[in-house]
């Protein structure tokens, strides 16, 4: 299932081309390094090469498939037969029968020239740069660059912009900038916030927030640091936390709203270091929002409860929950569940489809019990309340699976059900909010991802009798249905710490006892 692109795709060079004639024409073809590649009308050489996955050999700084074409870095030049000059492959429209050489001596010489110019004023201190290891300048220099610098003049240095905070999320080191202006075009054309500009001109050209006091204000600042080809823009949440070559990269989806952006979880030794977006044309394009980008902190929270908790029998309402073993928890819970006549299962809509189904099946085996779902973030009750927060990705519904839970036939919560129940079991994966506005004197069982502070605040209102630690989205297999009814399945990307168990195992444990 395909949805409409909700980000502005690359701008094609605007040329008044005659409208396509209705009769089918043979597909135009372009020859790149001897390989014949069909392309679509309007493609540039770079886009044609990318479509055929032949573009790995065309280096680029200013070109980014999700951004308008600038054609300024001059790194992607290629030799086109019958054209006198080298052409920039990112901006030259492909033509039928064009023969392109991406690795001819002339091309390589030009790229070496560009590399020498870019490195002339660039600090040569890769070992202390946070981008080292995933730096395009570094990679291309291995391939094309001169091995030594002939630049003997004084280097251009921005003293005041060596580590300049553009916002609380992004830090700028202007000395490393290669002026590709991907970031400026991103804020101009993708977020449309225009919160980054280039000041001055020529060799003094300097990146700056449009309003220096306010800094950046768009909600996608992490993307700036993703596509910055050098270490000029770095994400404060990640910078100098980990050398990138240690990172283990696994694909997943973001569970922070109903968009379900495709992401890559970068972890080292089971510790998530950062999340990065992965291109998916029908979901998130190339981008993800900052809220989602830092969401791994929920899983990595040191206050997260990772062992079963139980309140001792007959303790008062305010008594503390104490850590226990799974065996003892299952034993105690079985007693409680069997003695309860009306059990209400509340499923937070950040649980996966599989989890919701397992809970539903379990509930059907318990007489008198019922299953409802609750979302409760941003005032969203059902998927009908969902909507876009901006023109890009962010959604009102801050949970990942409202539509998946609805598809199972589970109904939204009704306040009367809560007051009627004599046991409430609430399952969530760390994002859905507890329905604490409902008054309830029944004992509550919390299930899923919780941290200590949350539990403490819940305890002030409700009679929490126990806590069953569960798993985050990235710690388990599962499917999630996003806002455009697209079902996405993810696999485990990191192993959970502590004693957390999957929903299935908990149900099995309780059922067997």
């Amino acid at each position: 299932m395909k949805t409409e692109l909700n980000y502005q795709s690359y701008k094609k060079p605007v040329i008044d081309t005659p409208p396509a004639t209705p009769e089918a024409k043979p597909t135009p073809k372009i020859t790149i390094d001897g390989v014949v590649i069909p392309f679509q009308a309007g493609d540039t050489i770079m886009q044609a090469a990318e479509r055929a996955n032949a573009a790995a050999e065309i280096p680029r700084f200013c070109y980014h498939p999700g951004l308008p074409i600038a054609g300024t870095c001059r790194m992607c030049t290629v030799e086109v037969e019958k054209m006198p000059k080298l052409m920039t492959s990112c901006s030259t429209p492909a033509a039928d029968g064009m023969i392109v050489h991406t690795q001819s001596p002339k091309v390589r010489k030009s790229r070496t020239g560009v590399m020498e110019f870019l490195l002339a004023n660039h600090p040569l201190d890769c070992p202390v740069c946070d981008k080292a290891g995933e730096c395009e300048l570094q990679d291309y220099n291995f391939e094309y660059g001169p091995s030594t610098s002939r630049f003997v003049e004084e280097k251009r240095v921005w003293d005041d912009a060596t580590t300049k905070k553009l916002s609380d999320k992004v830090t700028l080191n202007m000395n490393r900038c290669v002026h590709c202006e991907r970031c400026v075009r991103f804020t101009d054309e993708v977020t449309k916030t225009n919160d980054l500009v280039m000041k001055n001109r020529g060799y003094k050209k300097e990146l700056s927030a449009t309003d220096e006091e306010r800094g950046l204000w768009n909600d996608y600042q992490g993307c700036l640091t993703d596509f910055c080809p050098v270490g000029a823009l770095t994400f404060n949440d990640f910078r100098f936390h980990k050398r990138v070559w240690f990172l283990d990269k696994k694909k997943s989806i973001c569970d922070q709203c109903s968009k379900g952006c495709n992401i890559e979880v970068h972890s080292d030794q089971n510790v998530v270091e950062r999340l990065m977006p992965v291109f998916n044309e029908s979901v998130n394009g190339h981008w993800m929002c900052d809220e989602g980008r830092v969401s791994y902190h929920t899983a990595m929270n040191p206050l997260r409860i990772v062992s079963p908790l139980l309140k001792s029998k007959g303790a008062s309402k305010d008594a503390a929950l104490v850590s226990t073993t799974w065996e003892f928890l299952f034993q105690q819970l079985n007693v409680v569940i069997k003695s309860s006549k009306k059990i209400l299962f509340i499923i937070g809509t950040d649980a996966s489809c599989e989890e919701a189904e397992q809970v539903k099946n379990w509930s059907s085996k318990l007489a008198g019990s019922s299953v409802v779902y609750f979302n409760g973030v941003n005032g969203v009750q059902t998927s009908k309340d969902d909507g876009k927060l901006d023109h890009l990705l962010r959604m009102k519904d801050k949970t990942s699976n409202t539509r998946g839970v609805e598809a199972l036939g589970i109904q939204p919560i009704n306040p009367n059900q809560v007051s009627d129940a004599d046991l409430v079991i609430y399952l969530r994966a760390g994002r859905a909010q507890l329905p604490i506005e409902f008054s309830s004197s029944a004992p509550w069982l919390l299930w899923g991802v919780w941290n200590l502070e949350e539990v403490k605040s819940v305890q002030q209102k409700l009679n929490v009798v126990g806590l069953i630690p569960g798993l985050m989205t990235m710690e388990k297999d599962g499917s999630y249905v996003n806002e455009s009814q697209l079902k996405q399945t993810v696999t485990t990307t990191i192993q959970t710490t502590g004693h957390c168990l999957t929903v299935n195992k908990v149900i099995e444990g309780l059922w067997i006892k």
Binding site: I15, V114, F117, L118, E153, E181
Partner: protein, 444 residues
């Protein structure tokens, strides 16, 4: 006396330069002003005007020397947007005279603003445009006042605005836009960006301005002097204009002679005047000194040595001589000039004025300026000269606009033609000319 036999009455633009009130509409109309515009609007079709200008061999006076009639004929006839609605077309006058050594447009705007306005009315009719913009360099305060006053006068007379010259349904108005002082905004696409309120950075071509220009609409950009030549072509006939020049370039040209001549200034002369005659016409080299070098077409044009100066100043002859006619800014340097210092100053200008988009131009102009500065101050090494040529080779022809080529013009030509001076600087570890000057002063 001058070797040039070109009577003042034959001048096209500056014919009445000696009169004091040439900037007023009263004077301009008394010397057949707005006659051509009236005739064009009443009698001629747009295509007719374009044909007439083509016949006149008028070539753009901004620097590139592109045939003006051909440029106008590139404008689409009935441009439509995606929904089929007609698109407006814009006429833009490039008055961002930034090329060092050029000051002819200033003269036209100060003294003959109505000639510019009339030329724009005719051009607007030729390409079917109803709006013209004059993009004036920000430093030209006097010129801006003069042109604005002239626009007001023309509006008051009904020559600009709605139903101009009393012709129903014929609209044309001119708006003046003040630039912010960037050399690169003389490049036509950078000018269009600046006119739209964006950063003055050249655009990728294609699309050319004739397809996507100002505000995304088809636009035609011409130089001030080009527009000012148009009324004469219509009034006196294309043949007369063409006869004044060479086969491929008609008319006269405003030469801005500066530097070491006795009488620097703007001179209107036939386009194919000999450079030595031109210098003679300006009173010869200052103080009877020997000629050393000439930059014939604004700072971007490669230098000519004294022995190369026996050359006609039209576009093709100068191109054959390895330089360019450019904007008509002739910078004369006598024997006291240190070429290394002159080149160093020029490169410092380019370092400052590169827009900074393309890698080669941004970093290369900076690099070259630093190297020339170092050599001038005695820090050069023998390897530097070949290295400079290599840097220039990596810059030229590889960028979006011609700025990088303009940087390499003075850099390469100065080294090629005056290599011994550079070697002298490197050998001595200082600038020999400065020493001589100080010695002369001491003797005096």
């Amino acid at each position: 006396m001058s070797a040039i036999n070109f009577p003042n009455e034959n001048r096209i633009i500056t014919k009445h330069l000696e009169k004091p009130d040439t900037h007023l509409i009263g004077h301009y109309e008394s010397v057949d002003g707005y006659v051509a515009a009236k005739r064009v609007l009443n009698e001629m079709s747009g295509d007719g005007v374009v044909d007439e200008v083509k016949k006149s061999n008028l070539r753009g006076r901004g620097g590139a020397g592109f045939p003006t009639g051909m440029k106008w004929s590139f404008m689409p006839k009935d441009p439509k947007d995606a929904k089929g609605n007609p698109k407006p077309k814009y006429l833009v006058c490039n008055a961002d005279e930034g090329e060092p050594g050029t000051f002819k447009d200033s003269l036209i705007m100060n003294r003959f603003p109505h000639m510019l306005i009339e030329g724009m009315i005719i051009a607007g009719h030729a390409i079917g445009s109803e709006v013209g913009y004059i993009y004036v360099r920000g430093e030209y305060v006097k010129e801006i006042i003069s042109v604005e006053k002239a626009i007001d006068e023309a509006r008051a007379k009904g020559y600009l605005g709605k139903d101009i010259f009393g012709i129903k349904g014929k609209n044309f108005d001119i708006f003046l836009y003040r630039g912010a002082g960037a050399y690169i905004c003389g490049e036509e696409t950078a000018l269009l960006n600046s006119l739209e309120g964006k950063r003055g950075e050249p655009r990728l071509k294609p699309p050319f301005p004739a397809q996507v220009g100002a505000f995304g609409m088809p636009s035609c950009v011409n130089n001030v002097e080009t527009f000012a030549s148009v009324p004469f072509i219509i009034r006196e006939g294309a043949a007369k204009f063409a006869a004044m020049g060479t086969e491929k370039a008609g008319g006269t040209r405003l030469f801005c002679v500066s530097g070491h001549v006795e009488r620097p200034g703007v001179y209107e002369l036939p386009i194919n005047v000999n450079l030595l005659d031109l210098i003679e016409h300006c009173g010869g080299v200052r103080g009877g000194r020997a000629l050393k070098a000439v930059i014939p077409g604004g700072a971007s044009a490669p230098m000519l040595t004294a022995s190369e100066c026996n050359v006609a100043m039209d576009f093709d002859s100068l191109a054959k001589a390895g330089t360019m006619a450019g904007s008509g800014g002739v910078i004369v340097m006598d024997e006291t000039v240190c070429i290394v210092e002159a080149a160093s100053i020029l490169l410092k200008f380019y370092e400052h004025e590169s827009c900074g988009q393309c890698s080669q131009c941004r970093e290369g102009s900076h690099w070259l300026a630093r190297m020339f500065h170092r050599i001038e101050n005695g820090g050069g090494t023998s390897a530097d000269l070949d290295f400079i040529s290599e840097i220039c080779g990596n810059m030229a022809g590889q960028t979006i606009c011609a700025f990088a080529d303009a940087v390499t013009g003075p850099a390469l030509s100065s080294i090629k033609k005056f290599r011994h001076e550079f070697e002298e600087h490197i050998r001595l570890g200082r600038c020999p000319h400065k020493h001589v000057l100080v010695a002369q002063q001491v003797e005096a």
